[in-house]
Symmetry: C2
Subunit: 329 residues, 2 copies
């Protein structure tokens, strides 16, 4: 409680402690979250995603500096789903740290996915809430790779930056990995590498094709749950921008595009719509997990072992066993 009060006053040590509680989904965090939640809702959440090797981390660090130049405070959450074992935080973070450390207006945190399957979205959302409540203006969420985690990150932020770079294998792969549909802004980093024009053209055409797809399938998506994207596509033209983050080129236009997107969201009512979708998404993630934990607590190890034995002996399928458990609650 004292911890929460300190964090609300931007005490760095208190923030760090709360982030650790959030990451471990400690019971103490549940308590803190009630107060933190009431003070959150003002931070601008920006997701930065793309394949390994595109220079995402460098771009994220430089963007943080660009926002600092406008006197905005910046939190960086590096989601590192790399490994359930290593606990994340490798060399890249240390490199970034060196450049950004010493600035009180910046806070960097690496999150590891650990062994907790399905838990990244939940812990990331909670970390973002801590930063939001502590008063950070900008919350950059950097995430690795092209996978399901991107879709989840998109559900947690206001604006999605997708980072590409020239010559990352053949174009088919780039499109296939296609996180393009979630992009609000496309950045081609390492724009000094050969093939930048080819990448730009490939992205341009892939992007337009996929956006059409997005419209065609909207009704499908809605039937699968409450995660349908805000239908704001009509009014926002996704910019494709070139940067060389390492030598500070092209960063101001990216920053301005991000701020334009914020204005766009605010002026058209999409900001609060996204907020609502995000809160519902967070609620549902917690609900799934808590139901599961509740089930575990209600069944002794011996009971669970007995159920598993039925499974291993192929007397009942995983689907049916799960259904029986839910029905007997």
């Amino acid at each position: 409680v004292d911890l929460v009060q300190k964090a609300l006053n931007n005490d760095r040590l208190a923030i760090a402690k709360l982030l650790t509680l959030a990451e471990s989904q400690d019971a103490g965090f549940l308590h803190a979250s009630s107060i933190l939640f009431q003070h959150s809702g003002k931070g601008f959440r920006i997701g930065i995603t793309g394949a390994p090797g595109t220079g995402k981390s460098t771009l994220t660090a430089k963007l943080a500096l660009a926002f600092r130049a406008l006197d905005k405070t910046v939190a960086i959450i590096a989601v590192d789903p790399s490994s359930p074992f290593s606990g994340g935080a490798l060399l890249g973070d240390r490199i970034r740290m060196r450049e950004l450390s010493g600035d009180k207006g910046i806070f960097i945190r690496s999150m590891a996915s650990r062994g907790a399957l399905g838990g990244i979205a939940r812990t990331t959302a909670d970390a973002a809430m801590v930063f939001d409540a502590a008063g950070f203006d900008i919350i950059l969420i950097e995430t690795v790779g092209a996978g399901q985690s991107e879709v989840e990150i998109a559900a947690l932020v206001h604006t999605v930056l997708v980072v590409e770079s020239p010559g990352l294998g053949d174009e088919i792969q780039a499109i296939k990995a296609g996180i393009l549909e979630i992009a609000d802004i496309l950045v081609i980093n390492k724009a000094d590498l050969p093939g930048v024009l080819r990448t730009e053209n490939a992205l341009m055409s892939a992007f337009h094709t996929s956006k059409k797809h997005a419209f065609r399938h909207h009704s499908d998506v809605e039937t699968t749950g409450s995660h349908a994207p805000v239908k704001e596509d009509e009014g926002w033209q996704v910019p494709i921008l070139r940067t060389i983050a390492l030598s500070n080129e092209g960063l101001i236009p990216v920053r301005e595009a991000i701020l334009s997107h914020q204005t766009y969201l605010l002026e058209n009512g999409y900001w609060s719509e996204k907020e609502k979708q995000r809160l519902r998404f967070e609620f549902e993630e917690h609900l799934r997990e808590l139901f599961f934990q509740h089930w575990q607590q209600m069944h002794s190890e011996a009971e669970q072992a007995d159920l598993m034995r039925q499974l291993y002996e192929r007397k009942i399928s995983p689907q049916h066993l799960a259904l029986k458990q839910v029905e007997s609650e």
Copy 2:
């Protein structure tokens, strides 16, 4: 039921229909799954993962042909989490199809992640069960990117191939994306590209560092759930192999390494241990989802809207609202 019987007799149309039911998590599939499950458990499940641009799809196709040369039947599940909108299946698949089509011993299926967050693992597991029950000897599961989905795929297969390629950005990124810990076999594809030795060395050293990490953190991982990896690391030396899949170079050694790993698992009792972990994982995934669906059914749209309103007005946090729902069950 008739459909299931046909699928068990390797009727391709019946298999395709069941896969569609599995993908949409149709109620009809739940029924079919009981019988399918009893006939599954013989297929050798192999996960193939790595960043976009490493040539994974080509490698997968060529490996399928290499297994066909041993007269084994092969199913390919291409998990394509690219987009919740596009429904997957882009150019890459068509290219593969052309080379493999016409062979009755091969079946290719693309899975899209659609809007269903957290659903990839479940639908992939169900698709694998269909192929397994239908009698396919080898089930190749190809998955894009470096993210959480990899960890989930690792939970679903016997053997994990991690594909890298030379020059994919700086080494730091490659390590950071580090799905190395889940690798049973490492493949450096596109080995004719410059920098292959550098990549090999970087992987070698990164690999040894991370394996040490894996041991150090084992106890941590176990506390987070029942997804702790089988501790088989002591006995298996992870091979690092070079291929140029496009021109058929180095594929036989990869195939043989996969078969060696299978022998290793079988001889040391790890095969059935992995099987048990997988079934428990599948059960838990279904349990989470079914509890959530049950909650949705128990609450009318009006009730849900009312709860969401409390959330949007910040009267209660997502965590607390979820907890209250679970407690009131």
